[in-house]
Every structure is written in structure tokens, then in C-alpha cells.
């Protein structure tokens, strides 16, 4: 099967399985569908949590975007393994950590958290790991943001929407070979930008 035939693969609904096999099973794990499900299962909880802890809906949106990015990348890298329930717990742990950290850093000082509560809310000794994961996701986001519009469009259609090269070529008035080459060059550019960001941060 060619790489361009991905859209024909079977797509499993997130809620119908007990393990996150689909997240680490790249061909069948359609990101658009899985992310929608994760969002529906967790975002209402986060909105409620943030409101209870002196934040608003806009804060919830920002916290969710950053937390889901860190969690998603970790799962896709195979570093997180567990059930869908465990994944939701893990994502919520990152959200709590991120929010409490934001409050402690002084950008939000309406309430004061003590260290004991922080340990309890965010799972204790995993702070360094979560912090590192959030930092890496931040660097990847900065790198992705620097890509041109056309690159983002081709990459989004191929990796996120899982369209075939032929479908993308048809919709963009291009040949399949051109799209394949553009995709490669855009990924090379993203790779270069990310490695530069890592160097700047002393992480490579």
C-alpha cells in the first residue's frame, strides 16, 4: 500500500476501545477524530476546574491547547502507555500543573496555593517531567508557527486530515509528485527550525 492510501484505512472511534492502541497505531489513528473525542471528554471538565480556581473560559482554552499538545506528542512518541481513562487522567494532571504553575508564577495571583496542595493536585514528583514535556511542546509549536501558509496547508491535509497525495494534488491544482516533494521539504524545514530552537534552549 502506498503512503497516499491512508484515507482508506479503517478509523476506530476513541470511545469504543479500552486502550490507546489507536494513538500509537499511526495508520488507523486518525488524529482529527481522536482529538475531537479527547476534547469532548475533557474540555468541559477543564472549564469547570478553571472557573472554580479563579480563571475564566479564555484561560481554560489556553491551558487546554498547551496541555493537549504536550500529552499528544508524548503519546505519539510512545512514551505514555495506558487506557483511555488513564490518558484522560494524565491530560488533566498536565492541565492542573499548568494552571497552578501559572498562578504561582505571578501572572495570576488572585489565590495562593501552598506546596502541599500543589503536590496533591498535580501528582507529586512528576513536575520536572511534565515541565520538560510542556517546554518541548512549546518549542515544537514555535517551530511549526514559522512555516509558510502553503507548508502548513499541505502538512495539515496529509498528516491531520489523512488525505492521499492524489486528493491533495487535486484540491490544490498540483501534481502528486509536486505535493510529495513539497511535503518532504516542509518537514525538512520544520526539522531544521525545531533543532535550532532546541539548540537555543540548550536541549540538543
Amino acid at each position: 500500500m502506498a503512503a497516499g492510501d491512508l484515507s482508506k484505512n479503517r478509523i476506530l472511534p476513541f470511545k469504543d476501545i479500552t486502550h490507546l492502541e489507536l494513538l500509537t497505531d499511526w495508520p488507523t489513528g486518525n488524529p482529527e477524530h481522536i482529538l475531537k473525542q479527547i476534547y469532548e471528554e475533557n474540555y468541559p471538565w477543564l472549564e469547570s476546574y478553571i472557573r472554580q480556581h479563579s480563571g475564566n473560559d479564555s484561560d481554560a482554552k489556553d491551558i487546554f491547547q498547551e496541555s493537549i499538545a504536550a500529552a499528544w506528542i508524548n503519546v505519539r512518541e510512545g512514551r505514555f502507555k495506558g487506557s483511555a481513562e488513564q490518558f484522560n487522567a494524565y491530560l488533566r494532571q498536565i492541565c492542573r500543573y499548568k494552571w497552578i504553575n501559572q498562578i504561582r508564577s505571578g501572572t495570576r495571583n488572585k489565590i495562593i496555593y501552598n506546596e502541599a496542595l500543589l503536590q496533591q493536585e498535580t501528582g507529586g514528583n512528576d513536575h520536572d517531567i511534565v515541565s520538560e514535556q510542556l517546554q518541548q511542546a512549546g518549542l515544537l509549536q514555535q517551530s511549526f508557527a514559522q512555516l509558510g501558509t502553503k507548508c502548513k496547508q499541505v502538512l495539515r491535509l496529509f498528516y491531520y486530515r489523512r488525505q492521499s497525495l492524489g486528493e491533495i494534488a487535486g484540491s490544490m491544482g498540483n501534481t502528486e509528485e509536486s505535493i510529495k516533494t513539497i511535503k518532504y521539504r516542509c518537514m525538512v524545514r520544520l526539522r531544521k527550525l525545531f533543532l535550532e530552537e532546541m539548540k537555543k534552549n540548550g536541549t540538543v
Binding site: M1, A2, A3, D5, L6, D25, W26, P27, P31, E32, L35, K36, Y39, E40, E47, D57, S58, K61, Q65, I68, A69, W72, I73, R76, E77, G78, Q136, A137, L140, Q141, S143, F144, A145, G148, T149, K150, C151, K152, L155, R156, Y159, Y160, G173, N174, T175, E177, S178, T181, I182, Y184, R185, C186, M187, V188, L190, R191, F194, L195, T203, V204
Partner: protein, 240 residues
């Protein structure tokens, strides 16, 4: 701490992608896994590509979450008022513009459609790598990069009308008046397959930069082309 190479070749990139997306056949996969076991550099490269692909997925999603963002829905009433005000402003502007003499920029915008460029196929890439490398940048709308690549070819062969033409249209797409310097020799070149397209874009460049007499002179060379006749009529409406 993982070490990475400066660059990844297309063949290796495609192999890793086929491995990650499970589009390799069983024997190729087994061979790749043996290589993975033996090479830490390859393992690092696979991990990096997995991470970058995950980043593309999640940050593409961030751009698409608006439709399921309840915050947006709650602000809808304000948005309706803003939208109504914007529509009113557009209508007033439209009425004003249609009752006054057209500007060169307006006419240019009405007629200008960027040249789509040449199709890039693997055989053509092998034959003339640099030119098609520039063409890929052109298609990515990275016109500065395309111009930089094509100028290297142009320096070695200043009579290459294809390169001249595409440098010209790349400049024009970038709203850079250098376009004229490259389009003019192609428009004057009776042996060039790009001549009529070069004349059209040259005339548009002249319109854009307020040189309407020169634009009309070149349009007349298109021998009654309908678009050229219509553009000529519109140029006459530009206030002196």
C-alpha cells in the same frame, strides 16, 4: 542527549515515514527494524520524525478547534454587531469606489492572477534539478527563495528565457518592480515560448506602477486578445 544529523535525505525521510505509517511490506519492515536495532543514529532520526509528525497533527488541530469552542458561541451576539458594521462599511466603500475613477492598483488587482508555474515531476527534477528546486519554492509561494535559486542559473546563462520569465513573475507576485527588468527582454524575444505571457504580465506591471502608456503599447501587441482589449479600456478610465 540525542545527536542529530544536519540534514535528512528524501529517500531516508520516505523510508521512516513508510515505517511510521505502516505502509512498508513485511520484508522491508523487518529489514528496517534490523537497521534500527543496529543504529542509534537511525533510532534518533525515527524518534525525531515521530515527534515532528505528532506536532503537525496537534498544531493543525489547534487551528481547527474554533468550531467546537464554546467561548466563540457565547460571543456570537457581539460578532453579529461587528459583522453588521463591517458589511455597512464595505457597502459604503464599494459605493464610493464605483462612483469614482478606478486606481491603477484596483485595475491591477482585478486582472492579476499569478502564473501557476510548471508542473514538477521526478524525471524533470533529475534533468534540471536547480530549476525545479526553484519551481517547488515558487509553488510553495516562497518567491524570495525561488528568485534566489533561479538567479544562480541566470548568472550562468543570461539568455535562458524560461528562467528570465519565471524570475519576472516571481518578482511580480512579490509586488516588486524588478519584475519589469526580467519580463521586458522576454516580451521582446520573438523566439520565446513565453513571449505572450510575458507581455501580459509586463503590461500589468506597468499598470501597477503607473506607466499606463507603456502598458497600452504592449497590450496592442497581443493582437486583439479579449482580456487585453478589456484591460486597455479600463486603463483609459484611470484619471491622469
Amino acid at each position: 542527549m540525542a545527536q542529530y544529523r544536519d540534514h535528512i535525505e528524501e529517500a531516508l525521510f520516505e523510508r521512516i515515514e513508510a515505517y511510521l505509517l505502516n505502509t512498508m511490506d513485511a520484508s522491508a519492515r523487518a529489514a528496517f527494524e534490523r537497521e534500527l536495532e543496529a543504529s542509534e543514529t537511525l533510532r534518533n532520526e525515527v524518534d525525531l520524525q515521530r515527534r515532528l509528525t505528532a506536532a503537525v497533527e496537534i498544531f493543525s488541530d489547534a487551528g481547527e478547534q474554533q468550531y467546537r469552542d464554546p467561548v466563540v458561541v457565547k460571543k456570537a451576539s457581539h460578532i453579529i454587531w461587528y459583522a453588521a458594521a463591517a458589511v455597512a462599511a464595505i457597502l459604503i466603500t464599494w459605493f464610493y469606489l464605483n462612483n469614482s475613477a478606478p486606481s491603477p492598483d484596483k485595475i491591477y488587482a482585478r486582472y492579476f492572477i499569478p502564473d501557476a508555474g510548471l508542473p514538477v515531476v521526478m524525471s524533470s527534477v533529475n534533468e534540471n534539478y536547480d530549476f525545479y528546486d526553484g519551481m517547488i519554492s515558487y509553488k510553495e509561494e516562497d518567491y524570495n527563495k525561488a528568485i534566489e535559486i533561479w538567479k544562480n542559473i541566470y548568472r550562468e546563462n543570461a539568455t535562458n528565457d524560461t528562467v528570465q520569465y519565471f524570475i519576472g513573475v516571481a518578482y511580480l507576485n512579490n509586488n516588486d518592480r524588478n519584475a519589469i527588468d526580467y519580463l521586458l527582454p522576454v516580451a521582446e524575444n520573438d523566439n520565446s515560448r513565453w513571449q505572450s505571457k510575458a507581455i501580459w504580465y509586463l503590461a500589468l506591471a506597468y499598470v501597477k506602477y503607473g506607466r499606463k502608456e507603456e502598458a497600452v503599447t504592449w497590450l496592442k501587441k497581443l493582437n486583439g486578445d479579449e482580456r487585453a482589449i478589456q484591460l486597455e479600456k479600463d486603463i483609459e478610465k484611470i484619471s491622469p
